[in-house]
Symmetry: C2
Subunit: 345 residues, 2 copies
């Protein structure tokens, strides 16, 4: 079985993105109040995005024996919730850029942005409930259970990261990082879409627990590359503020590496930086943090850690997909492991 | 049929509140992260509240022929969503006090509070989905449809109010006010719980549209009294910041009355006040606005307008409940009309 190259992976993501985007637009209300609500709700979805989550959901649906259309409302619901999280996260993180444009709260103010995020959650629920007609009561209930679990895990992870930042928590290890991103990122980015696709495609017969392991490693590889791109990526491709994670005080893998490796003056520099509020962080301080990361090899550490995680994902894929016959969709899911670390946007 | 006095109404609200509060607590997770999430989620529900919404839902369930327990998950879901809205509204409105204590975002910071509000929405969904086992698929789907409609209406109303304030909109009439509170307040405070109770209690046979009219007038009476209490109520009973609506620049019925009645210098005073940002509004300016309201009779206007709305509610009640036999629950729903304007908290 020849693995897919990066270019075909991105073409597939684009195809799934177009399919999901069209289905998603059917859930966006047309009426009033447009200028204060529905225009804001439509904004982030219209900015595009990688469509990683819907692609995983739909490819998993087909790989496990279903039709693409059977996974579509679940993919739309996830994408709507993803956009709701983005709107609220951008406020919580005081982020400036999203998909190459100013964040929603910068454009419309925090109050209207919080409210628009709430509306996206309600629309996600509407998409999810359309599963009942499409899949029947048993499968639809299963998907809704998965959706609720995923939303809780994500919110729990977000709470922990926000709490660490608010309280200036510093004694963190790579294990804490993995536990954090398991909740904050992996559950909704990879584990949930894979599980839901398998549930629908197999009519409830697939072993969903085997997908937690694969989804975790795949999602961790995604988040580690996200940490790296935030620091060294091309902002015009990546679409977020360059070094935004550092300005926001996020506990990225490189920051956690610095916290565990530095001693003496360097340690105090890192700790002082971590303790600042966002407006207090200057370009000079960011440059000093990046210099320390170069000196201590934090970027190399993150890249190598990512390679190890990707190797674990390979193993977990073989286990989780042992009984799944070869298909273009199975190959895509496999190829995404490599793509996670090679992507530049 | 003797109408209930205020005291028995409040005893009934307390009884329904205790019942709903106990059922609600079963949906609050016990695990981690406690300090950054689940403690925050449990905070507003534990502060108590009037329990008006669950009382309407449960009394309507029984008045239309059902059992109290059949309405309980729907009442809990509504109360959880209500608390989610309160958390997010308090941020959007920059409110200081909620139920006699500092608002959640003042105690824990905006990021963790937004996230806790999101968690309350997810828990509301969990409560709602328990209807499937309790009521069967058809009625549960009906309740979920009602829930989604209600959430959308509320978010639309909130968007309009926030937009008016952000853009300094001034050319508003009492009709605009009624249209606003129909969306922002009435749908989720009165119309939805009445409709859901009737749907469940009658096994889907009741005419839900007749309840929109009654619910609208009942909810409008509630909101008008809320506007009045915010200005002249006893803060220790009312639990919100005295004159908080004025500090927050809300378009209350009294403010809209002033905007339509004042001319010349007085008009300019009101317009200048409306155009300020919250931190710019001083106690002197609030006192000047209250003095103008006294001079122009804005409070009397609001009180008399409320009496007219209550009279319309009486009419609408007779129509909506024409085929509903007498019962303590029907009497309570009727007595709530008078209570809306007599309550001091």
């Amino acid at each position: 079985m020849t693995p897919l190259e990066v270019a075909p992976v991105e073409a597939e993501l684009e195809r799934y993105g177009a399919l999901t985007g069209e289905a998603l637009r059917a859930y966006l209300p047309e009426g009033e109040p447009r200028r204060y609500l529905w225009d804001l709700v439509a904004d982030y979805p219209a900015r595009g995005g990688k469509a990683l989550r819907p692609a995983l959901c739909l490819a998993s649906t087909v790989a496990f024996g279903g039709e693409t259309c059977e996974g579509l409302p679940s993919a739309v619901a996830l994408e709507l919730l993803h956009n709701a999280f983005l709107v609220h996260d951008d406020i919580e993180d005081a982020s400036l850029l999203r998909r190459g444009h100013p964040t929603l709260h910068l454009e419309h103010g925090v109050p209207l942005a919080i409210n628009a995020g709430d509306a996206l959650v309600v629309l996600a629920g509407a998409a999810l409930r359309d599963n009942r007609r499409l899949l029947g009561s048993r499968l639809a209930t299963g998907v809704a259970d998965e959706f609720e679990l995923m939303a809780r895990r994500t919110i729990e992870g977000q709470a922990r990261e926000l709490g660490w930042r608010r309280d200036g928590v510093r004694d963190l290890t790579a294990d804490d990082y993995l536990d954090l991103i398991m909740h904050k990122t992996c559950w909704y980015t990879t584990i949930h879409p894979l599980r839901v696709g398998a549930l629908i495609g197999s009519l409830g017969r697939a072993d969903l627990d085997a997908l937690v392991r694969f989804g975790f490693y795949l999602g961790a590889a995604f988040q580690i590359q996200d940490d790296v791109l935030n620091l060294v990526g091309d902002q015009s491709k990546y679409g977020k503020e360059s070094c935004g994670d550092l300005y926001e005080g996020k506990r990225t893998l490189m920051v956690i590496h610095l916290l565990s490796e530095t001693r003496g003056d360097d340690r105090r520099t890192v700790e002082r930086f971590i303790a600042l509020e966002r407006p207090e962080r200057t370009a000079e301080q960011i440059a000093a943090m990046i210099a320390l990361m170069r000196e201590y090899g934090s970027l190399e550490f993150a890249r190598e850690f990512g390679l190890g995680i990707a190797a674990a994902a390979e193993d977990a894929f073989e286990l989780a997909f042992a009984d799944v016959p070869d298909s273009p969709e199975r190959r895509l899911l496999h190829a995404l492991i490599g793509w996670m670390l090679e992507r530049d946007s």
